[in-house]
């Protein structure tokens, strides 16, 4: 008898290629679009050497984005978009990989497949081929995007491949997380945790100017490869084995566990519930507190690290002209850096709020909402339990970062922007539950894209103002009036969502 762990992976692959079309197409074509548009816009904006030199002087040494590798328009362009592309791609990869691996397993689809003549490793192998293939195509697309704007081949190749490999690295992390965690939600949490950690490492590497540290985080790979600035091919000697090792680890964990299980060992539970475990809120809290604690702790920790690094950061920026306009507004380049960082972390918290709210949709499709509502429980109370946790939880995470980093007032003033995005998801859940997740996440992505296009000067202020984040953008200090209006909008949308849920059908599946 032959033992082929990958039996039938080919037929699975055919199936998987057709699955998750939107994300797959984004992974392949978004890099091309971003590379080409950034290159063209920089050509238009920086067409004299003086403008270019000025632009580079202003931005050189940005702690978030790192060094501009050379005094050329190519280096400045790739510098501007490399991190944005990597972050967007990392998120897309994680969602795609966990949907096709752990989520299918949670839903029992994998069990059905494995009962057929399908090798135990085949689903993972098919996923890997699809996702790595898509990422490398995305890398090639990015290269073509730069070349279409007239950038040289070698540098475009280095930028595209470094980005493609960075994406593969996050796909590998997600594949590993899918095997270690015991369900899709935990796997996604683990993966996003790794993203946050590596993003943070990238910032530390840039803030301390330690170029070797960049190699240890995929977010730094494109910078480390030095496209258009004397390419450093050493990266590939490191990146390819790193991805391979992570992939091998995923297979190793897969081979050692049973289907449906994970490595986070199950403890025995209590035979009876605590006396106060008898309300929808108690249930929601027991489900959501784990994720909330992790987010709150991560934000407090990042706040402490940044807070303690502030003197060093101030000193580092002392003689630079980092973001001159913003520095004037907030009182020094070090402060400007902190403002931008806390702004980005505010946007990331919006992802937490969305996840916490969409948890209700997951509950509903798993028929658990039905179980709770068949008891004498008011629908509004049920929904409010989850909403309280999402709204208060996101505010607490931001406030903790503010307290620990010493940027409390500005941090807290941004909370209403998060609430607006959250309240849109609440409204959707209340009136069109099946759309809540795709439209909620889509809108979040759209706001980030709007900001990117606004920064590239593709869209004007008035369009950027459609995003709630525009109203709390660094430098645009949120006034009491703006905050009040934003809170009012969020409250109205939340109220409409509650009303919608009160009167709609509870949907199974």
């Amino acid at each position: 008898m032959t033992r082929n762990g990958n039996a039938a992976y080919g037929s699975l692959l055919k199936n998987y290629i057709r699955g998750n079309k939107v994300i797959t197409l984004l992974i392949i074509f978004l890099p091309l679009f971003l590379a080409y548009s950034a290159a063209v816009s920089n050509h238009a904006l920086l067409h004299t050497p003086a403008e270019l030199a000025n632009y580079i002087a202003e931005n050189q040494g940005n702690a978030l984005l790192g060094m501009i590798g050379a005094n050329t328009i190519e280096a400045a362009t790739v510098w501007r978009i490399r991190l944005s592309v990597a972050v967007i791609m990392a998120v897309l990869n994680i969602i795609l990989v966990i949907d096709t691996t752990r989520k299918d397993e949670d839903l029992g689809k994998l069990e059905l497949l494995r009962a057929g003549a399908v090798g135990p490793n085949a689903p993972l192998t098919a996923t890997m081929i699809k996702v790595y293939g898509a990422n490398l195509l995305g890398g090639v697309a990015m290269m073509l995007g730069f070349m279409a704007a007239g950038f040289p081949l070698t540098g475009s190749f280095a930028a595209g491949m470094a980005t493609g490999l960075c994406c593969c690295a996050f796909a590998a992390v997600a594949m590993l997380a899918a095997q270690v965690a015991s369900n899709a939600r935990i796997a996604r949490g683990l993966s996003f945790g790794v993203v946050a950690m590596l993003l943070f490492l990238q910032i530390v590497a840039n803030a301390t100017g330690n170029e070797n540290l960049l190699m240890w985080t995929p977010f730094g790979w494109c910078a480390y490869a030095r496209p258009y600035a004397g390419e450093n091919w050493l990266l590939f000697l490191f990146a390819v084995p790193a991805i391979a090792l992570t992939t091998i680890a995923a297979y190793a964990f897969l081979g050692r566990r049973d289907i449906g299980s994970g490595y986070l060992q199950e403890r025995k539970g209590s035979a009876v519930a605590r006396a106060n475990f008898r309300s929808p809120f108690a249930l929601a809290w027991s489900q959501q507190r784990g994720m909330l604690f992790i987010w709150a702790a991560a934000y407090a920790l990042m706040g402490l690290v940044i807070g303690s690094l502030m003197p060093a950061i101030d000193k580092m920026f002392e003689r630079t002209t980092f973001l001159p306009e913003l520095s004037v507004l907030v009182g020094g380049p070090g402060k400007a850096f902190l403002t931008i960082l806390s702004y980005i972390l505010t946007q990331v918290v919006a992802a937490y709020a969305l996840m916490a709210i969409l948890r209700m949709r997951e509950e509903e499709s798993l028929l658990r909402t039905e179980l709770v509502l068949s008891a004498p429980v008011l629908r509004v109370n049920y929904m409010m339990s989850h909403l309280c946790i999402a709204y208060v939880g996101s505010a607490v995470a931001i406030a903790l970062f503010g307290v620990c980093s010493g940027d409390f007032i500005t941090s807290v003033s941004r909370i209403p922007a998060v609430w607006i995005l959250a309240s849109v998801a609440v409204l959707l859940y209340g009136i069109a539950p099946r759309m809540a997740a795709p439209v909620g996440w889509g809108l979040f992505g759209l706001f980030l894209l709007l900001e990117f296009l606004w920064e590239m000067r593709f869209v004007g202020n008035s369009i950027f103002k459609l995003s709630p984040f525009a109203w709390v953008y660094p430098g645009a200090a949120a006034s009491i009036a703006t905050s009040t209006v934003m809170i009012f909008i969020a409250a109205v949308l939340t109220g409409l969502g509650l009303l919608g849920f009160k009167h709609r059908n509870v949907i199974a599946g």
Partner: protein, 296 residues
């Protein structure tokens, strides 16, 4: 007073008509069987009863109230066991039982212990490690532990082994003895036959037959198996269906009006063995689910 009173109930999902005018009436203190194939509309009817779905048309009264508007008040007086349950994976079975029953009021802890023992259930395991049958026990115990007027059970024994099925049947009989009403949706016909006072058969969103078990049996054909001394011939008579002759043996189903003629023919062939029985629920069920003109 009717515990459940449904007239002309309709419900569509987009273009699919799930319910096309259901009439149903369940009296206080009875065990009412609601049978039909998957997709016939059983669960949709139950979800409307629970106020989870809104009806499109018709009238529906549950314990004298409106199931959608008065759901919180009504749910204090009823318990529900779903056909499919995915209890919260991070909670233990005992915690889920307590949560669901406490939402309804104060259950009797003795009753809880008794049910856990009867169903041989381990309440300390986390729900994600329970098998299908054990997950079903969580829902069953959580419902049976509360003392309410009405129990709505949607295929409650799916996944239970035969031993547990009989424990379940005992529990349902005890509910009836205590004067409670049970609405039992099922496609396990033997179970319905054993437990229910009255039955409705639902097909494609319509009630095709309803009545007490005896009423249902009266209107339908008898099942006959016979063995004679001579080879059996000449049974091709009106009112006889599904005739199967094998030399001296014959089996068929027969309309009550044609039974006499059939017996005459069998005595002419010198019958030595005759087995004649009313149809079981399964025969009835198949009768309604076979296309018109199909003989059985």
């Amino acid at each position: 007073m009717s515990v459940i009173d449904i007239k002309g109930l309709t419900k569509s999902y987009g273009k699919t008509k799930a319910l096309q005018g259901i009439d149903l009436s369940v009296e206080q203190g009875e065990i009412y069987g609601f049978i039909g194939m998957n997709g016939a509309g059983k669960t949709t009817t139950i979800r409307i009863l629970l106020g989870l779905l809104k009806k499109d048309g018709g009238t529906i009264k549950l314990l004298g109230g409106d199931p959608f508007k008065d759901c919180v008040e009504l749910h204090k007086r009823l318990c529900y066991v779903p056909s499919e349950i995915n209890p919260w994976p991070h909670l233990s079975g005992g915690e889920v039982i307590d949560l669901l029953s406490h939402l309804r009021g104060k259950p009797n802890p003795k009753r809880r212990e008794e049910l856990i023992a009867r169903f041989q259930f381990d309440p300390t395991k986390k729900c994600r490690s329970y098998s299908k049958g054990n997950r079903q026990k969580v829902a069953l115990i959580a419902a049976l532990v509360s003392e309410v007027d009405l129990y709505i059970l949607d295929e409650p024994t799916s996944g239970l082994d035969p031993l547990m099925e009989s424990v379940f049947q005992d529990c349902v009989r005890e509910l009836k003895a205590a004067g409670r009403t049970v609405f039992l949706s099922s496609h396990i016909l033997a179970e319905v036959e054993k437990l229910c006072d009255r039955v409705s058969i639902i097909k494609d969103g319509l009630i095709v037959e309803s009545g007490s078990m005896r009423e249902l049996q009266q209107f339908s054909r008898l099942i006959v198996h016979a063995e004679c001394v001579k080879p059996v011939t000449g049974l091709e008579l009106p009112g006889i269906y599904g005739l199967h002759v094998e030399g001296k043996k014959a089996s068929f189903s027969v309309d009550p009006s044609a039974l006499n003629n059939a017996m005459k023919r069998l005595t002419e062939c010198e019958a030595v063995l005759l087995h004649c029985s009313p149809p079981e629920l399964e025969d009835l069920f198949l009768h309604y689910y076979k296309k018109d003109g199909d003989s059985q």
